[in-house]
């Protein structure tokens, strides 16, 4: 594999985001975001609309170039190793696009065949069946509802099983049954070694990620496990995601002297 700027070491983090910023004109969409993600981590990116979650995910996937800072996968800079990134990471955006000329099943077939896999059919059928798409597998994705399109994109990503899976608002378009199914699926893949970073405004009941990254106005204002954040923000054991977000924003304002 051809990669530039080789600085990969065995102890390099799987995903290393160091001090990235991104500006849309005069607006700071991201400011000095820095964190690492290791294998077997399920990280939830939480924040209000416009907090910079989608921009951060797009920067990590190499779809957008940050104006400052650097992102590395296994120590390799994302900006200089486009193909390497494609081999190790998949981002499912909030509105994934598909080929107009291929059916849902042909999308999965194409992905599997482009990777040179054989015997992929059972896995593909299993995925489609779990997300309720099996009976519509021969339809074109543009005839699907938004939720169905997201499910198909998830099936494509999960069929590939990348080392790092980025999901932008995965639970928003899904029905509660599919959301629960996705959560189980993500935990299973996490156990197999996958690192998952997803943005979300809600989580299935009783679901807890390994870690939260809380964003506000382009900055990461809190980073920690559910337990450490609960203790840090003095929340009770039955707090919701909303409570966590509100507490983090208030703590940030207090820190900045606004309160």
């Amino acid at each position: 594999m051809q990669t530039d700027d080789k600085q990969s070491t065995s102890d390099a983090p799987l995903l290393d985001v160091s001090g990235i910023s991104y500006r849309y004109g005069s607006l700071n969409a991201l400011t000095n975001a820095a964190f690492t993600v290791e294998p077997r981590q399920l990280v939830s990116l939480v924040g209000r609309n416009g907090a910079g979650k989608s921009t951060l995910l797009k920067c990590i996937a190499g779809w957008t170039q940050p104006t400052e800072g650097e992102i590395r996968i296994h120590g390799y800079p994302v900006a200089k190793n486009e193909r390497y990134v494609r081999e190790h990471l998949i981002l499912v955006p909030d509105t994934p696009q598909f080929y107009d000329e291929l059916t849902a099943w042909e999308h999965l077939q194409f992905v599997a065949q482009a990777h040179g896999w054989r015997g992929w059919e059972d896995d593909a059928e299993d995925l489609l069946s779990r997300y309720g798409l099996l009976s519509n597998k021969d339809a074109f994705p543009f005839t699907y509802s938004r939720g169905m399109r997201y499910k198909l994109a998830l099936c494509m990503a999960l069929l590939v099983e990348p080392e790092i899976l980025l999901l932008d608002e995965p639970l928003g378009p899904l029905d509660p049954v599919s959301a629960d199914e996705l959560w189980i699926e993500l935990n299973r893949h996490r156990s197999d070694g996958m690192a998952i970073l997803f943005s979300s405004h809600q989580l299935p009941q009783e679901a807890q990620p390994d870690r939260y990254l809380i964003m506000e106005q382009g900055e990461i204002i809190a980073d920690g496990t559910p337990e450490s954040l609960r203790v840090g923000f003095s929340l009770d054991g039955r707090h919701s995601l909303d409570d966590l977000l509100r507490s983090a924003i208030q703590a940030r304002k207090a820190e900045a002297g606004h309160v």
Binding site: A61, L91, E101, L102, F110, Q113, A114, H115, M156
Partner: protein, 499 residues
């Protein structure tokens, strides 16, 4: 009557909003009532008038030139063909109205008008009048040009009068045909039984067969228009046309109140989607094609299946399936290759000036066949899908463009080989065509891999094809071939480097 006033106000505001939208795209801010904006508005109006006047004058001159070159026999053939052309256009208009509702609603209309208690006859009449008015100018201009063309061989001094009569005759035909089409289209929206016949829209083309048997009955509108151009139309024929149009319009109005707006909304979705794109629909015609393509495929079972093939061959079969489900893209690539080769042969054979060569080059660079890089461009632009493609861009291009490039080369080679050149010239030409076809695909691919597509495309095409032309003209064909080969190699390197 209140509904008509209400809709008039709504449509006026929509027209104003659309007009402001387009004026803003050329830098005019009507809300800014400054002196500089008023001067700029005047400047735009004068430029527009000057452009329209220049185009009209140029068009009239070209029509007169063409008319002067017509032999009496050619004029007779043209006079015999024109009524058929008019009938074909009429049949097309009727078929269009029978296929999809002529009452086309935007998403806003679907949300607020279709479900409101506003008189449906008012909605129908506004849409009908708008369509007629919008078409009067282009059809009037076309009629005027045809008038000049027809009268020039007979009496070159009567061009102005013929232009006026031609414009009026074309507009009368347009109003009659549009009104008839609306009436048929509205009947479909009233009687659901008619909508259940999917092939009903083909019926109007039967008029062409009927006209073959009874020409006097079916070709009279076109013949009356031609007679009007020469000032020989009988008053009765024109009066009949006007009375028929008025009668049909009255029926459209009468039946308009019975239209089922749910049917109209259902059939307006494609139109509404395109209208919602605004300026993008004009800037990127692929978006329109995509919406039409989706609408066409939505109700059909997919044709053919994706074969079992792996790796690069898997990419190739996927691209081939895409093109086979889009055969027009292959056909346009084939015709483009044939036409450009034919024009290039003319350019070389007639030793035409360099400006014409530059025109050919610009077309090659900026108007390549849409199908050539359709799959490759989709692969690069849809970032979610691109993640699943592990090939570098050169291999991706090879897989994606193989079939359309083969079609383009087939068209070009067919034209070249049928010219009957000496074997040595023919062989050099074949190699040239292969290398230039590859250069065309590689130039486009390199441009799509860049952030500034248009600029990159211009520079790469000018450099690549320019180098081939300069080397070929000054140093001989072999030097031209060497330049084409080198340009191809450099572009291959750029694509591999790109990822």
């Amino acid at each position: 009557m209140f509904d008509f006033r209400l809709l008039l106000l709504l449509r006026w505001r929509q027209f104003r909003s659309d007009a402001l939208y387009w004026l803003r795209t050329v830098g005019y801010e009507p809300d800014e009532r400054s002196f500089s904006q008023r001067v700029y508005g005047l400047y735009l109006a004068l430029i527009g008038l000057f452009w329209a006047g220049s185009m009209a004058s140029w068009g009239a001159e070209q029509a007169a030139l063409l008319g002067a070159s017509l032999t009496p026999a050619a004029l007779d053939d043209l006079l015999a063909a024109l009524p058929w052309l008019a009938l074909a256009l009429q049949a097309y208009a009727l078929a269009s109205a029978l296929r999809v509702t002529p009452l086309k609603l935007s998403f806003a209309d679907i949300a607020y008008l279709a479900g409101s208690p506003v008189d449906r006859a008012a909605a129908v009449m506004f849409a009908y009048v708008r369509q007629v008015v919008v078409r009067l100018i282009p059809f009037g201009a076309l009629g005027a040009l045809v008038g000049i063309l027809l009268v020039t061989p007979v009496d070159s001094g009567a061009r102005a009068a013929a232009a006026l009569r031609g414009a009026l005759a074309a507009e009368a035909l347009l109003v009659f045909t549009t009104t008839l089409a609306w009436l048929l289209g509205i009947l479909r929206l009233i009687f659901p039984r008619l909508r259940r016949h999917p092939w009903l829209w083909l019926l109007p083309f039967g008029l062409l067969a009927a006209a073959y048997v009874l020409p006097d009955v079916f070709l009279w509108p076109g013949r009356a228009a031609i007679a009007a151009v020469y000032g020989q139309a009988s008053g009765a024929a024109l009066a009949l046309l006007v009375i028929a149009a008025l009668g049909l319009a009255a029926m459209v109005f009468r039946l308009g109140s019975q239209v089922n707006m749910a049917y109209a909304s259902d059939e307006s979705i494609v139109h509404a989607r395109i209208k919602a794109l605004g300026l993008m629909a004009w800037r990127d015609p692929r978006l329109r094609l995509r919406i039409y393509g989706q609408a066409a495929r939505a109700g059909r079972k997919p044709w053919l299946r994706l074969p079992k093939a792996y790796g690069l061959w898997g990419l190739t079969t996927r691209a081939a399936l895409t093109y086979l489900r889009h055969p027009m893209m292959l056909l346009t690539s084939l015709l483009w290759g044939a036409l450009m080769t034919y024009v290039a042969i003319l350019l070389v054979g007639e030793q035409l000036p360099v400006q014409i060569w530059i025109g050919w080059l610009l077309i090659a660079g900026f108007v390549p066949p849409v199908g050539l890089l359709y799959v490759f461009r989709t692969d690069l632009e849809e970032r979610f899908l691109y993640q699943f493609l592990l090939a570098d861009r050169l291999r991706l291009l090879a897989a994606d463009a193989l079939l359309p490039l083969a079609a383009l080369l087939a068209g070009a080679l067919a034209v070249w080989i049928t010219q009957g050149f000496a074997p040595q010239v023919a062989a050099v030409g074949v190699v040239f065509i292969l290398l230039l076809g590859m250069l065309l695909a590689l130039s486009g691919a390199a441009a799509f891999s860049s952030r500034r597509v248009a600029l990159t495309r211009f520079l790469i095409t000018a450099a690549g094809f320019g180098a081939v032309a300069v080397a070929g003209v000054n140093l001989g064909p072999l030097a031209g071939l060497a330049a084409a080969g080198t340009a191809n190699l450099i572009l291959c390197g750029l694509l591999i480097e790109g990822g």
